[in-house]
Symmetry: C2
Subunit: 187 residues, 2 copies
DNA sequence: AACTGTGGCTAATGACATTAGCTTTTGAGC
DNA sequence: GCTCAAAAGCTAATGTCATTAGCCACAGTT
């Protein structure tokens, strides 16, 4: 073996810190290398290329997020679980907006798997509503769309009005919970 | 005057067609210039730089979208208007997924103004629910978040399961409409 | 027919990502 | 302690971009 200075994980950490501090546009291999105290090409010993770094960063973020929402949901059920899930999701976005903006939804297996972990937690939280499998999938997608849409727009500063975002989010939670409670007509 | 060959609008059109056909990653000035039958630096006679081109493209897309949802909402009200609004929004995304992915939410005045047009249509559609101004703002944000989140995820192919997206979207519409119908308790 | 400004062009620069090929370090086995 | 292979680092080189500078041609006006 050789010096164990850097590693794929360390590179990802450095890159995430860079994005946190300087925004998603600042993510270049040169900047990451500089922060890591290493020459740019050296990064290729740990990461295949920039696209893979992005994917690894997304996986890391999704896993962090999964841990959070998993903990938030623990021991709660139905409406209460959904509320905790949505609240903790947004807390993450507020804490790391740039990081969230850097999320990539590539069809890469690695990223897809990390995304699946998130979806699984949502599915579990929805079981309490007594949904059939197919129905639960649809509900999860809606939940995901609502949270992700809000998160993206907030992270990109697309809400300009002075009204409090917290209140808007309360309404969104209310919409989701109410929608889950009053099912569509069975066909 | 000189030859009136290209124009800012024409460049934007070419760029949009490029994105439609080859995806958002294919958007480079070189590719746009080549399609326009012109050398790369010539584009700068019509567009300040790549960032401005992106902004102009976003404005164009938002305006197209505004026209569509405006027409869809015309003459309808309340639940019916919301359903038409959400349906036509998604039709646009299905028709031009790459274009939608290329949307940028910069705080640039130009883009913000185009976004405001979209928001205004949503606000108008929500008036039928008899909401106070502040309440309408919150509701619009939720509507926007839900539609945008779904659109982004679909455009990025983030929904992998075989379940029909149309059915999921019906549920999302249902959630929004139900949520609007059953207001939060006033504090 | 000369003039002016517009749109286009070539050449140059600087930031990147990525590759090739060389050097250093280090840990494993002796 | 010594050898050595591989890991990890480095410099140099390449190709693609965006962007800028400076020049040329042409249209429409005078």
């Amino acid at each position: 073996m050789a010096r164990a200075a850097l590693s794929a994980g360390a590179v990802v950490d450095v890159a995430l810190r860079l994005v946190d501090e300087e925004g998603p546009a600042a993510l270049t291999l040169a900047a990451v290398a500089s922060r890591a105290g290493v020459a740019t090409p050296s990064l290729y010993k740990h990461v295949r290329n920039l696209a893979e770094l992005r994917a690894l960063m997304s996986v890391q973020v999704m896993d962090d997020l999964a841990e959070r929402i998993g903990a938030a949901v623990l021991g709660r059920s139905a409406d209460d679980a959904i509320r905790a899930l949505m609240t903790s999701w947004r807390e993450y976005v507020v804490e790391y907006p740039h990081r969230y903006s850097a999320l990539v939804q590539a069809p890469e297996p690695m990223v897809a798997r990390a995304g699946q972990r998130l979806v699984d937690i949502m599915l579990a939280a929805l079981r309490a509503y007594g949904m059939e499998d197919t129905e639960a999938i649809h509900a999860t997608r809606c939940l995901r769309a609502a949270m992700h849409g809000f998160a993206v727009l907030q992270a990109e500063n697309a809400f300009q009005r002075p009204e409090k975002l917290d209140e808007t989010y309360d309404l969104l939670i209310h919409m989701v919970v109410t929608g889950l409670r009053t099912p569509l007509r069975r066909t």
